[in-house]
């Protein structure tokens, strides 16, 4: 009612970690994640997509940070590859929490799997708790489903960045924003058309797309962090500033994508 975010001193009262448990309070399972990492992610990262990551040093090794990326593919492989890149390349790897649509909590089987491998429902309170209270890395895709459902002909053209909610979340948590440009996900699972099966299946969308990932070459570039604690007290109340910062992040990623695409000779070989 009066205030929405927990006061600072509540951080001291976070639950202690119980070492016997293999599951975190978010429902993330060390065991399931480990199995996925050693099999699927390892194969995709090293052999299928042959990921090349640059600028990994821009991911802070301590404190909360909000990672913001472009989003593509019917069943997007970009989130898992960004998490794997941090695990493989970073000098001090940290778990990455990926925000996902509420849809994933309501759909059978996906609701079991997604939280176990690091998915967190994209609720502002969740992002704030992770960024501010727990000082974790959080990955958001501000394009949301608009990014993943876009057709192959619209590839690498960023959709609208929501309503700038991610900027507000970062400002409230005083966490830097790390923009990420990902090239390759658009070719890995291109969507050619949408089938009118949405109502029947209850899915977010029913795309006409390859059933398996195509072996596109991935480039992931982590860009310089944008601080959010330089705008004075409670900057999120200024809707114009929030929109400006959101637009700035979007423009940086878009520019970087064009630059990376200009240098790429082949979608498959790089």
């Amino acid at each position: 009612m009066k205030q929405l975010s927990a006061p600072a001193d509540h951080r001291a009262y976070l639950p202690a970690v119980e070492p016997e448990r293999q599951v975190t309070d978010w429902g993330r399972s060390e065991r399931v994640e480990g199995v996925m990492d050693r099999t699927v992610y390892d194969f995709l990262y090293h052999y299928w997509f042959r990921v090349e990551a640059e600028g990994i040093e821009h991911v802070p090794s301590s404190g909360g940070a909000l990672l913001v990326s472009n989003h593509a593919g019917a069943l997007p492989p970009d989130a898992a590859m960004i998490a794997k890149a941090i695990k493989e390349e970073h000098s001090r790897p940290r778990p990455l929490h990926m925000t996902v649509e509420h849809f994933f909590k309501g759909y059978p089987w996906l609701s079991m799997l997604v939280p176990k491998v690091g998915g967190v429902p994209a609720h502002p309170a969740n992002v704030h708790r992770l960024l501010y209270d727990e000082e974790q890395l959080v990955l958001v895709f501000p394009e949301g489903a608009k990014g993943t459902e876009k057709l192959y002909k619209d590839r690498y053209r960023l959709r609208r960045f929501g309503r700038g909610g991610f900027v507000e979340a970062a400002m409230r948590a005083k966490a830097p924003i790390v923009p990420i440009a990902v090239v390759g996900a658009e070719e890995a699972q291109p969507i050619f058309a949408h089938l009118p099966l949405r109502r029947l299946t209850g899915l977010l969308y029913a795309p006409l797309a390859p059933l398996v990932y195509l072996p596109a070459k991935f480039f992931i570039r982590f860009l310089e962090p944008i601080p959010t604690d330089v705008y004075g007290e409670e900057p999120w109340l200024d809707a114009g500033l929030v929109q400006t910062v959101a637009e700035d992040v979007r423009a940086r990623i878009q520019e970087e994508l064009y630059e990376m695409l200009a240098r790429r000779r082949s979608a498959w070989l790089g």
């Binding site: 009612m1 009066k2 205030q3 929405l4 927990a6 001193d9 509540h10 009262y13 976070l14 639950p15 202690a16 119980e18 016997e20 448990r21 293999q22 599951v23 309070d25 978010w26 429902g27 399972s29 509420h102 849809f103 909590k105 309501g106 759909y107 059978p108 089987w109 996906l110 609701s111 079991m112 939280p115 176990k116 967190v120 429902p121 609720h123 309170a125 969740n126 708790r129």
Partner: protein
């Protein structure tokens, strides 16, 4: 010195809290009201057989100069009571108890209300951790939930109208313990832990001793406002099953769940709607406000489930040892009040 009135003394919580408060010499008087007999041995608690008639309650409050009222009546499980009984208790009962506490000449300085995390409901677009300021994103889906929301809101309204009274609302997550009988203890006592196919919901369980402990904490220290009472640690249901040493068996299909649970109801396995919603979406509460207010939980969610697993393992042995000791109220009352009984210290 405190003078405490407990409503719903016949409920498990009322009795347990009275037992706990009896140990505290700083509490001068404990009066319990309830339409039914208390179910446990009580020493110095005075029992008055009365429902929630506000006129009668107010006379008791005035005459005994009660300064603290603890309301433990809330029905949080549609297993024990029918929809109408629950509505009567939760909405009408709460209204009456608050009416008895209010008024310009009321001696009441503190009201402690036992509420439930059902206030927040279970939805697809919930946050992973509810804090006290959050409201449910959608209107209540079940009768029980809407009654609980109404009762909780009535208490909030009472607090706003009576700034001189310290009003504490404790919203408890699912309780678990040897003496507790709820839909969840019934489900977890089955040979398998049932669930909904394709879902593995998040759960918190608070031990019955922690529920009593939190209520007692609210009586002895001043906690104005709303507090979530849920211990550290949010488990997932498959983790609960493995802690209990049982397989996790998704008995209910993801679609047509209510139909399937009606069919299970014919096989005498009742899964009420609010439980089905929890089995699908789960719920987590942020407990930091209560911890900051000085309450130390004795057990985490995980330890609570482990303690419950031990109870379940012992249950067949206990059952074969014959009927347990039953409290004989008449005998106790004779021993306490009869002039024929010679008391120590008296000539």
């Amino acid at each position: 010195m405190k003078r405490v009135l407990i409503t719903g003394l016949s409920s498990y919580w009322g009795c347990r809290l009275a037992q706990e408060l009896e140990k505290d010499p700083a509490i001068e008087t404990i009066i319990g009201v309830s339409p039914d007999d208390p179910t446990m041995a009580l020493e110095r608690t005075e029992f008055v057989r009365v429902g929630t008639h506000h006129g009668l309650l107010r006379r008791i409050v005035q005459a005994a100069e009660i300064d603290t009222v603890v309301d433990t009546r809330l029905v949080v499980d549609s297993r024990g009571a029918s929809g109408r009984e629950a509505h009567e208790q939760n909405v009408i009962g709460t209204m009456n108890v608050l009416a008895a506490c209010g008024g310009p000449d009321s001696p009441v300085r503190k009201v402690v209300f036992k509420s439930s995390a059902h206030y927040y409901g279970c939805e697809r677009d919930d946050p992973s951790f509810f804090t006290e300021e959050m409201r449910r994103p959608h209107p209540p889906r079940t009768r029980l939930e809407s009654d609980i929301v109404e009762a909780d809101d009535a208490v909030r309204g009472f607090a706003e109208r009576n700034p001189g009274v310290t009003v504490t609302t404790l919203r408890f997550c699912n309780g678990l313990g040897p003496d507790l009988r709820t839909s969840h203890t019934a489900l977890l006592s089955l040979p398998v832990v049932p669930g909904i196919l394709g879902f593995d919901p998040r759960y918190q369980f608070i031990h019955e001793d922690d529920i009593v402990g939190a209520l007692r904490h609210a009586v002895v220290s001043d906690l104005p406002g709303i507090y979530n009472a849920a211990p550290d640690g949010v488990l997932i249901l498959s983790e609960v099953a493995s802690l209990l040493g049982k397989p996790y068996l998704p008995l209910l299909p993801p679609w047509g769940t209510s139909l399937a649970s009606t069919a299970l109801g014919l096989a005498r396995l009742r899964i009420p709607e609010e439980v089905r919603r929890q089995l699908r979406y789960g719920r987590g509460l942020d407990n930091r406000r209560l911890k900051q207010a000085g309450y130390r939980f004795q057990l985490t969610s995980r330890e609570t489930v482990q303690a419950f697993a031990e109870v379940l393992r012992l249950a067949p042995l206990r059952a074969s040892a014959g009927a347990p000791y039953r409290y004989e109220r008449e005998v106790e009352e004779f021993l306490r009040w009869s002039p024929s009984v010679r008391r120590r210290g008296e000539s």
